[in-house]
């Protein structure tokens, strides 16, 4: 590979985006390096500068914001998210998704910012982020902006992140009282990304019906999607075998999965039906606590 000239660690966000802007295209952020270094070795990327964000305050760690939201720095590793009592307390779905990433070494080094920065089909955390209504903050030379996770992704390996922007934060709103959740992943080998992943959060209305429900699907499209039709069927409805079956069918019809080396669109449709059904049945059977997760 072409030699990288320099590894730099800016001390502030302004310095970092200033560096990216003045070396447009020639500088890349490196976080866990799990994906970036492979791209470098395969010469799919040939940056002249690598940027570490480690010296910038607030880039790593998990905290509760003033409004009760969960705030995660981009350099926080999958391992740290999976092990965080704070995440487990109110957003357990995300911890469960983080736990499903690759293998221990990948979780030990890989970060949530790098996962978003390398928008690969079948990534785990983004599916949970969709169901939890996460917002992503981006900083660039023109200032900062915040986008909903569904708007962050654009297509196959594409996001709205500009070459001179960095991801500075992932924020999850507090989940309404009584909200339950589930994350299910289907993959062929233990270390693989999801062929199909389903994340659901459900807020009951106290009278046996769903007040609010969000269904995120991963692995089916280049970017994670919400199953809006399926959600509409279940909102203000009871979870019964009949509504679950209609919602799962609606999810199959609305997502239009892709075909690739891991599986055909037809196969993915079948998996969507099975896993949406399973996730909803688990939620119907109970499960307690905010964002509580059930295993597949």
């Amino acid at each position: 590979m072409r030699a990288v000239i320099e590894y730099v660690e800016p001390g502030t966000v302004e310095e970092a985006v200033g560096f990216l802007a003045s070396h447009r295209g020639a500088a890349k952020v490196v976080a866990g390096g799990q994906s970036l270094l492979v791209l470098l070795r395969q010469r799919l990327l040939e940056p002249e500068y690598l940027l570490g964000l480690d010296r910038i305050p607030g880039m790593r760690g998990i905290a509760e914001g003033a409004g009760g939201e969960l705030v995660i720095g981009p350099l926080t590793t999958h391992r740290e998210i999976a092990a965080s009592p704070l995440v487990r307390k109110g957003w357990a779905l995300l911890a469960e998704a983080a736990e499903q990433v690759g293998s221990p070494p990948v979780r030990n080094a890989g970060t949530i910012g790098g996962n978003l920065g390398f928008p690969m089909i079948g990534a785990d955390p983004p599916v949970a982020l969709v169901a939890l209504g996460a917002r992503i903050s981006l900083a660039g030379p023109r200032g900062t902006r915040t986008v909903a996770v569904e708007e962050f992704y654009r297509g196959y390996m594409e996001s709205v992140l500009e070459p001179d922007e960095i991801i500075t934060q992932v924020a999850l709103p507090p989940q309404p009282a009584g909200t339950r959740g589930t994350y299910l992943k289907y993959r062929l080998r233990g270390i693989d990304r999801a062929l199909v992943a389903v994340a659901v959060t459900l807020t009951p209305d106290g009278r046996g019906s769903c007040k609010e429900i969000r269904i995120g699907l991963g692995g089916v499209r280049p970017a994670p999607v919400r199953a809006l039709q399926a959600e509409a069927i279940l909102r203000r409805a009871r979870l019964t075998e009949e509504t679950i079956s209609r919602a799962a069918q609606a999810a199959v019809e609305e997502v239009e999965p892709v075909s690739d080396l891991s599986g055909s669109a037809e196969y993915r449709k079948k998996l969507v039906k099975v896993f949406v059904t399973r996730a909803l049945r688990q939620l119907a059977a109970g499960g307690s606590g905010v964002g509580r997760v059930h295993e597949s």
Binding site: V4, Y7, G33, Q34, L37, L40, G102, P104, N108, G190
Partner: protein, 159 residues
């Protein structure tokens, strides 16, 4: 000019000038001559290059050497102490958990990271703990048994 990096490997300090895109694996193998970390897939899938970074298993093929500066690195060469093999190394030999040996250093280091964190793992937790390490020879059964023997012998304590 290449940056100066201080690598702490198996308790020893190495002051090195490292090209900013050098991987920790290449520095360990080619410069420090610690060839226990193997070069395998170089894409994060096989685990042959596993080392411990501040006690956690990581792939040395996916880590920049400059970003490992100042942190504690442990390779298989640093596991035996005073000429005595680590209990995991002994167990791998005794249980026949080594065939060609290519996966063994990574496998043992992943097992060490697991046992340091969870001294009494069940078989499923052991499988999870070594899920980042491929073995093409043994079929894993003897590897899991070797790790189990050490877990039981330790009775919940650290080595």
């Amino acid at each position: 000019m290449n940056p100066e990096v201080t690598l702490r490997v198996n308790g020893r300090r190495y002051e090195l000038q490292v090209r900013p895109d050098r991987l920790l694996l290449d520095v360990l193998r080619d410069e420090l001559r610690l060839t226990g970390a193997r070069r395998g897939c170089e894409t994060g899938y096989c685990g042959a290059c596993t080392v411990l970074l501040d006690g956690q298993a990581v792939h040395a093929c996916c880590l920049l050497a400059v970003r490992a500066g100042g942190r504690e690195i442990q390779t298989i060469e640093g596991l035996a102490s005073n000429g005595k093999l680590h209990p995991l190394q002994r167990a791998f030999i005794e249980e026949g958990a080594v065939q060609c040996g290519y996966c063994t250093p990574g496998m043992i280091l992943s097992a060490k990271a697991l046992l340091d964190e969870n001294p009494a793992p069940g078989p499923e937790e052991i499988r999870q703990g070594i899920s980042g390490n491929l073995c093409r020879c043994t079929g894993y059964v003897k590897i899991i048994r070797a790790i189990q023997t050490v877990a039981q012998a330790k009775g919940g304590g650290r080595p």
